[in-house]
């Protein structure tokens, strides 16, 4: 006779042990990556000195770069963004804005503001994309090209931009983001250091909410008054200063943010361009590049530099944030699913044995396991399997570990970049680094779990992002 109650208790017991083991492994990896990121950041990521920057700006030796910015219904921010792109400090620069069939006045604003003329230029690249309706160019020495095409999504627009560009390097940026004036120089640095092997490089993304923006430049850096934006500020600092630096050190970086990444154009074209049928085209491309180079046993580097700063507006409403996280999680699911063949295949080296399995197990499935952990612990407490002490301990362990990671990221920010000049802003970041673990992170975990389910179901679509516009974004600052 089977004792069902005993069986349930035993199963639950082992299940809880499994979750604890999972949490221990994921936290150990996070911790190791943060520490590795800290040490490699200290050694390898020296900023260009002002003298070097001046010399490079004058140098004709720098490779030509095209900044490709897809724009869909960006009438509110496109003027400021393009102005900022045209002011970037780089000697050999071309800006390509791809109007992805916008329904608002994006194209009209661009034509009028920058006095564009309709050009006879034709795309020379082989990548497939939706039909181009027209190409417009400016007559200024720094060339602005606007590609007007039928709506096909971000990846499709990037492919059109790659086809129109003729430069050695291409920077894929979001048209609703602001690049710092020397961000291209800083991001091109790895290509200059190791021209033969470097094929792609990502830059750091920071939260613009709360900062003053004038003429397409961030003039005063400050934290946002919106709690949701503030939580995301800490989240961005943690993600970009910790894990990515370490993964770049291991040459296993799987994500170069779609908001700002520089690629060798010939390499992206040879690999087939950005994948159109995924919402995580940035991650998918990077994983594909890794895979193709490792299959060929070619020596290459995909780098991340924490200095080149791209400022982006993050959602300040729950609804939009939820949609964004859902999309990111679906992107991860799609990228992992497309490249599942590399998992645990030794011929792909660290990519197959660590980076992709890590993403599959912890970044993709992690939220579901974490949610399950919370549910089971609550359930176990409710039915009396778990004591109150264990419940509190489980909560403390998970929250305290999150606080350690967040506070150490803020501390790392304070020791390295020191972007926030006011002590009050740093204090706020520290406080938020603690508070985000008491609800916000759990909410994120839940949304990501939903995203995972949607991704597994094959749900597509981008959702909406309402923009305030940079001109109206500044927070009230102290004297």
């Amino acid at each position: 006779m089977i004792d069902w109650q005993l069986l349930f208790y035993r199963s639950f017991h082992y299940f809880c042990y499994g979750i604890i083991f999972y949490v221990a492994v994921i936290n150990s990896i996070y911790f190791f990556l943060t520490v590795l990121g800290f040490f490699s950041l200290r050694k390898y990521h020296a900023r260009l000195t002002p003298e070097q920057r001046d010399a490079l700006i004058r140098s004709p030796l720098l490779p030509e770069i095209s900044v490709v910015a897809p724009a869909y219904n960006e009438a509110v921010t496109v003027r400021e963004s393009v102005k900022a792109m045209l002011k970037l400090s780089y000697p050999n620069l071309q800006v390509i804005v791809v109007n992805d069939g916008s329904k608002d006045d994006t194209l009209k604003i661009l034509i009028e503001e920058f006095r564009l003329y309709r050009s006879a230029r034709t795309p020379t690249g082989p990548l497939p994309h939706k039909p181009i309706r027209g190409i417009y160019e400016s007559r200024d020495p720094i060339r602005l090209i606007v590609v007007d095409k039928e709506n096909g999504g971000k990846a499709d627009s990037l492919n059109a931009g790659l086809d129109v560009a003729r430069s050695e390097l291409v920077a894929a940026v979001d048209s609703d983001s602001l690049l710092e004036h020397d961000s291209l120089l800083q991001c091109v640095k790895p290509f200059l250091e190791d021209r033969e092997r470097t094929i792609a490089c990502g830059g750091m993304i920071r939260v613009v909410n709360g900062c003053h923006v004038r003429n397409g430049r961030v003039t005063t850096i400050s934290t946002s008054r919106s709690v949701i934006a503030l939580f995301q500020s800490v989240e961005y600092i943690r993600a970009f200063l910790g894990g990515r630096v370490a993964l770049s050190f291991l040459n296993s970086l799987l994500i170069i943010s779609g908001a700002f990444g520089v690629f060798r154009r010939d390499v992206v074209i040879a690999s087939g361009g950005f994948a159109v049928k995924t919402v995580g085209e940035d991650m998918e491309l990077v994983v594909r590049l890794h895979r193709q180079y490792r299959e060929r046993k070619a020596d290459y580097r995909i780098r991340y530099v924490p200095e080149p700063v791209c400022w982006t507006e993050v959602p300040e409403t729950i609804k939009i944030l939820k949609g964004q996280r859902n999309r990111w999680q679906r992107g991860t699911v799609e990228s992992i699913a497309l490249h599942k063949r590399v998992i645990l295949r030794p011929k792909f080296g660290l990519l197959g044995m660590f980076a992709v399995p890590y993403f599959a197990l912890f970044e993709m499935l992690g939220p579901a396991v974490e949610t399950l952990g919370y549910v089971c612990t609550g359930l176990g407490y409710a039915v009396g399997i778990i004591s109150r002490e264990v419940l509190i301990l489980f909560f403390c362990v998970s929250v305290l570990f999150g606080i350690v990671l967040s506070t150490s990221a803020v501390l790392l920010e304070e020791f390295t970049a020191r972007r926030y000049p006011r002590t009050m802003d740093v204090v706020r970041l520290f406080v938020v680094a603690i508070l985000e673990n008491l609800g916000f992170k759990q909410l994120m975990t839940y949304w990501r779990t939903e995203g995972l389910i949607d991704g597994l179901k094959g749900k597509t679509g981008w959702g909406n992002m309402e923009r305030k516009g940079f001109g109206t974004a500044p927070a009230k600052l102290g004297p």
């Binding site: 150990s28 190791f32 010399a55 140098s59 050009s119 034709t122 007559r139 264990v390 506070t407 501390l411």
Partner: protein, 389 residues
């Protein structure tokens, strides 16, 4: 080596962290909590709490120490600078400065460095002697031997500001340092304050190093371009390594001015396509560039697309009318880059080229027609721009 150190540091920190949890568990918590799992969990929480407190305290302490150091320096700075200035104007203050240095070595060093950045010529030379008398040069030379990168960078930065024979051997040695920042700092210091021999060495470093170093040093070496082209460039162009030849030519191209350059023919016939491309790019820097017309026409039919594109660009820059037919053939040939370059070159060479482009706009080859139309349109828009200006 550097990567291994980082791995070891990371593994060491992670092990230290795990060990601290185990130690807290063994030495304290397990004695008070009977359940081993719970005890371990509590130990973990205690260590986490300790680390969070440590991080917060550390950030405050570091800010405080920095602040104190700044204040001390601000207090001592006027008297040190006064003594140093008096010394530079003829009153020997070495003894006074040595006395201050015994008590405040960091502040004296910092003040001398600050002064070194502000003065030039003979004053800097006098100050360099003072730095030697204070034992700073020896200290910085010693500091350059440090394993810590930041220390080495600092030492080279300061040695580079001196006008002193003792600094030069260290700076020359730093040209082969594994760190790019150190190489650049040493090279720029040598260019500022050394003779032709050292500058030649910097040029050789620029040729062999990464594009980053090459780009920065090319600008710094610009003032010495003529000397380098006469004395050093021929040796580099005779190098058996094609990459070095290519990079030497790229530097010359970046200088972008008429220079006493060696004959380009062997380079235009070099087996490496990259060298041929680089050699084509420097042809406009020869006084009598038009005489290389036949070579350019020959290279317009090169098997390598990049060479054809470079030849077309050079023909355009030189307004080489004699290359019109070869450019037309290139326009009708393969390779998108070469086709576009040929179209632009035809637009640049004058009416003969324009007629060819106008004919090709209506031609059957789509790539050539598009490139021809684009080039004609650019020509038109540039003219319009000139009229507008």
């Amino acid at each position: 080596m550097g990567r291994c150190v980082i791995y070891l540091q990371a593994v060491g920190t992670a092990l230290g962290y795990a060990l601290s949890v185990v130690l807290v568990d063994t030495l304290y918590v397990s004695r008070h909590v009977l359940d081993p799992g719970m005890a371990f969990g509590y130990s973990f929480c205690l260590v986490q709490g300790g680390i969070i407190s440590l991080l917060l305290v550390l950030s405050v302490v570091i800010k405080y120490v920095r602040h104190r150091r700044e204040r001390r320096w601000e207090k001592l700075r006027p008297s040190i600078l006064e003594k140093a200035s008096a010394h530079l104007s003829g009153n020997d203050s070495t003894a006074d400065l040595l006395a201050i240095q015994r008590r405040h070595p960091v502040e004296v060093e910092r003040s001398i460095v600050e002064l070194l950045c502000c003065v030039q010529g003979t004053t800097r030379a006098h100050l360099s002697v003072l730095a030697a008398d204070l034992g700073l040069i020896e200290r910085w030379r010693e500091q350059y031997r440090s394993m810590r990168l930041s220390k080495r960078r600092e030492a080279i930065g300061w040695l580079g500001r001196l006008v002193h024979d003792e600094a030069i051997p260290v700076l020359l040695r730093a040209l082969s340092d594994p760190d790019d920042e150190i190489k650049l700092e040493a090279a720029r210091s040598l260019i500022r304050s050394s003779g032709d021999r050292e500058i030649a060495e910097v040029f050789r470093t620029a040729v062999r190093e990464s594009l980053l170093i090459r780009a920065v040093l090319t600008e710094a070496l610009r003032a010495h371009a003529a000397m380098l082209c006469r004395n050093v460039l021929p040796g580099e162009l005779a190098s058996p390594t094609a990459k070095h030849v290519r990079t030497a030519l790229e530097i010359v191209r970046a200088w972008g001015k008429m220079l006493p350059l060696p004959a380009p023919e062997p380079l235009l016939r070099h087996e490496d396509a990259g060298v041929r491309v680089a050699a084509l790019a420097i042809l406009p820097q020869y006084g009598d560039a038009a005489e290389f017309g036949p070579e350019i026409v020959r290279l317009l039919g090169d098997a390598d697309e990049k060479v054809r594109a470079a030849a077309a660009q050079t023909a355009g820059r030189l307004h080489l009318g004699s290359a019109a037919e070869a450019l037309h053939a290139c326009l009708l040939g393969d390779g998108a880059d070469a086709v576009v370059a040929a179209a632009y070159a035809l637009a640049q060479i004058g009416q003969a080229g324009w007629r060819m482009l106008e004919k090709e706009v209506l031609g059957p080859r789509r790539a050539s027609a598009s490139a021809a139309l684009e080039a004609l349109e650019q020509l038109k828009s540039e003219r319009l721009l000139m009229v507008a200006l």
